[in-house]
């Protein structure tokens, strides 16, 4: 038994709190969580049953927290957690779970299975049983500042491009701004339109904002791989930068897990409350629209539907805002049958998109989204997460579907009342 393994078990042990104890005590093995999980519904492989993915943690809990487990241990009977368990469960824990949280919504005894898997990853990552792709991403995030290796230099180039296109000046490191916005690397590299969009929206709405050159990265590989130290470090960078600039509110971008990281896990990771607020870009846009600061013109007549990013909607609580926003710019917005907090995941969340070996499985489970879209027959898919967007585009391409994926923020920016008419 290696030392790393022991540390992993110890890390896992530390995660077992009242919630997890009550969850394991309540689980009657009814198997309903499988029916809510796209990895099961699309493969029919019973090993993808959400609660089954927690077998290692359950084994530890049973051994150390239950009567029969302790009795067995006293007589040298029963099984204890082994390194083989980590090895065998690694793919189940990382490749076949996107932390989408759908199982947690339907469990009859109310178990938050997703929370448990998130916690179980803490033990796995310490023991060294995590996918290489995610290990690398976390290493890059800590060392370079971004899981994709994006540096401030890259951002500066992107910003210069936007400035050239729009003729605006993008405020960087502006002391005392109301809002400080973050980006995900994916947006900087793949969707710079997003940066341009918020620049135009904030300009039109007269928002005082800035970007920090020290902390612009919103994604947090630490919470995906399940490493609370790494996660805390990444959150802390943002907190320090925001405090230095005297920011009132930090804006989480159109990225799902970034919102969970900075909004919900962040204060708990660094162990203190923030002196500022955190808001999701969609919440802010909705707020601006309601305050009348966002003037939007005409509605698109093409039918549109919304893909709810799990971490923003189901796990984040931003449910109504994207709908109100989309309705204000789309004439024919139709919901998928399962939507809102019960939407189906794109298949690439929770670090799965950074995990190369999971790609075949990920493309297989994309069938869930495909059948949802086929059923609805709408060819324009609006979403609000850069990661979802990439995964959706890949899946659509793989299935040779001609559905267009657009960002809600960009869509809103396109409908801004033009300056000329405003004046």
């Amino acid at each position: 038994m290696s030392e790393k393994f022991e540390q992993g078990v110890q890390a896992l042990r530390q995660q077992i709190d009242a919630r997890i104890s009550s969850y394991f005590s309540s689980c009657v093995h009814c198997g309903l969580c499988a029916e809510a999980c796209l990895f099961y519904t699309e493969t029919n492989n019973p090993r993808f049953t959400p609660i089954h993915k927690l077998e290692p943690m359950k084994k530890l809990w049973r051994r150390e927290y239950t009567f029969w487990g302790k009795l067995g241990a006293a007589f040298g009977l029963g099984q204890s957690l082994t390194e083989d368990d980590f090895a065998e469960w690694e793919t189940l824990v990382y490749d076949s779970c996107t932390l989408c949280g759908r199982c947690s919504m339907i469990c009859p005894v109310g178990n938050d299975i997703t929370y448990m898997i998130r916690k179980q990853r803490e033990g796995f990552s310490v023991a060294g049983y995590a996918p290489d792709g995610m290990k690398e991403a976390t290493r890059r995030a800590l060392k370079i500042g971004s899981p994709m290796g994006v540096t401030y230099k890259t951002l500066k180039a992107a910003l210069a491009h936007v400035e050239k296109d729009t003729g605006m000046t993008i405020p960087v490191d502006k002391q005392g701004a109301d809002y400080m916005t973050l980006f995900s690397s994916m947006e900087i590299v793949n969707f710079p339109e997003y940066i341009e969009s918020i620049a135009r929206i904030f300009d039109a709405a007269g928002v005082s904002w800035t970007i920090s050159s020290k902390a612009f990265e919103a994604t947090n590989s630490g919470i995906q791989i399940g490493n609370k130290e790494a996660a805390a470090e990444l959150v802390n960078r943002v907190v320090i930068a925001a405090e230095k600039l005297g920011i009132k509110t930090v804006i989480s971008p159109e990225c799902g897990h970034a919102y969970t990281a900075i909004r919900w896990e962040g204060p708990n990771l660094i162990g203190r409350k923030y002196p500022f607020e955190v808001i999701h870009i969609l919440e802010l846009l909705d707020q601006l629209k309601k305050e009348g600061r966002l003037q939007l013109e005409y509605k698109d007549s093409i039918p549109m539907t919304l893909h709810d990013p799990c971490q923003i909607v189901r796990r984040g609580g931003v449910v109504k805002q994207p709908r109100d926003l989309l309705n204000s710019v789309a004439e024919h917005f139709t919901e998928m049958k399962d939507h809102g907090v019960m939407n189906w995941c794109c298949g690439g969340g929770g670090g799965v998109s950074a995990n190369e070996r999971a790609e075949p499985l990920r493309l297989q489970v994309f069938n869930r989204k495909k059948s949802q879209l086929d059923e609805l027959g709408v060819n324009t898919l609006v979403t609000a997460c850069a990661n979802c967007r990439i995964i959706l585009e890949e899946g659509l391409e793989h299935n040779e579907m001609d559905t267009e994926v657009i960002s809600l923020t960009e869509l809103i920016a396109d409908h801004l009342v033009k300056d000329e008419s405003n004046a």
């Binding site: 019973p46 090993r47 077998e55 099984q79 065998e88 189940l92 075949p360 499985l361 297989q364």
Partner: protein, 361 residues
């Protein structure tokens, strides 16, 4: 209340009922004059001398059923002595129990002999490495649901029927009274579940059990169990279909008569109860006999026969040998799957909770 009219029509129904009962008895075995045994007819000569004989005869209502009047309002309250009651009792004790018992015993012995001669029917081509989906998990579920209820009802019912001649000599009256009470209560309570189970089975399986072309040739050629040659058959063969219909039809008689027996609330008189009991018992013995055969084939009688109900999948070679027409069609439609895939879908590898590997496509 027009009580007399009600009772009259009841009587007519009752006579028709006896006719049906006679028919039912005829199916099992031609009994000689069970309804008019010489014993019950015979009048002791001394009775003629008895001045109370006339009165007694009227009270017993031997000649015909007459209804007196009574202050008590209720079913059968006008009947002082039901002459048929004794006939029913005699039928139960002297015909139903011995004949029924020997019939079931005969079936068991017959199957044992058959097994000794023929042995287990093997899959000729041996097990293949491919399978066909035969029953969905819902189909397996309702099969085992009806099976468990049937077994409970059959065992408790047989104890009630054969307890007196078989169990009392072994365990004594006191112990048997406890068991009989338990069986009666359990049988009554579980009985209605059989109706639920039968409805579920009927809805799910009726379409595959409609007789088709080719079914008769299966029958004419002895179903393949007798002799060595296999006979083509559909998803279900003629034997299975007949069992299905028998379960549905005779089962309905058993259920209907069972309800009459448990809930004496439908205003049915004693004669109806007697009739219901006879129908219930004869029907049940017939179905139990058939199900013994069914269980024999599923367990020791035939290799691979139970797989479909145990795992959902059956061996391709087995399917070809026993349900050729269905297997060929399924094969043409590309429904054949490899054993590997089946074990992955069923996760056979990890019977113990930890172990096995994640399969990725």
């Amino acid at each position: 209340m027009a009580k007399s009219i009600f009772l009259q029509s009841d009587n007519r129904k009752m006579h028709a009922g006896w006719l049906l009962l006679l028919l039912l008895c005829f199916i099992v075995q031609p009994f000689d004059s069970f309804a008019n045994t010489s014993e019950s007819r015979g009048i002791p000569s001394a009775a003629v001398l008895n001045p109370a004989a006339e009165l007694w005869r009227d009270v017993r209502q031997r000649e015909q059923l007459t209804n007196g009047t009574s202050q008590v309002k209720g079913v059968d309250s006008g009947v002082l002595i039901n002459a048929y009651g004794d006939q029913w009792r005699k039928f139960r004790m002297q015909q139903l129990i011995p004949v029924g018992g020997y019939l079931l015993l005969g079936i068991v012995i017959g199957l044992a002999l058959f097994y000794l001669i023929r042995g287990k029917v093997a899959i000729e081509g041996g097990e293949s490495d491919k399978k066909l989906l035969r029953y969905t998990s819902y189909e397996q579920l309702i099969h085992w649901f009806i099976a468990s209820i049937f077994l409970f009802l059959a065992i408790s019912g047989l104890i009630i029927l054969f307890g007196r001649p078989v169990l009392i000599p072994i365990m004594g009256k006191e112990a048997f009274s406890v068991i009989a009470s338990a069986c009666k209560e359990g049988h009554n309570l579980m009985g209605p579940l059989f109706l639920v189970a039968l409805i579920l089975i009927f809805i799910k399986f009726v379409r595959r059990n409609i007789y088709q072309k080719g079914d008769l040739s299966w029958l004419l050629r002895g179903g393949g169990i007798i002799g060595k040659k296999h006979v083509p058959s559909n998803f279900f063969n003629m034997g299975e279909k007949t069992m299905f219909w028998m379960l549905v039809l005779v089962g309905s008689v058993i259920i209907a008569s069972g309800f009459v027996l448990i809930f004496p609330v439908f205003g049915l008189g004693r004669e109806w109860m007697e009739l219901a009991h006879v129908g219930h018992a004869i029907g049940a013995i017939l179905v139990i006999g058939v199900i013994i055969g069914h269980i024999y084939i599923g367990t020791i009688g035939m290799e691979g026969a139970i797989e479909g109900m145990k795992t959902g999948y059956c061996d391709l070679n087995w399917a070809k040998e026993h349900h050729d027409l269905w297997a060929t069609k399924a094969e043409q439609q590309g429904e054949v799957i490899s054993n590997d895939k089946v074990s992955r879908l069923r996760d056979v590898s990890s019977a113990q909770s930890l172990g096995g590997h994640v399969q990725e496509e």
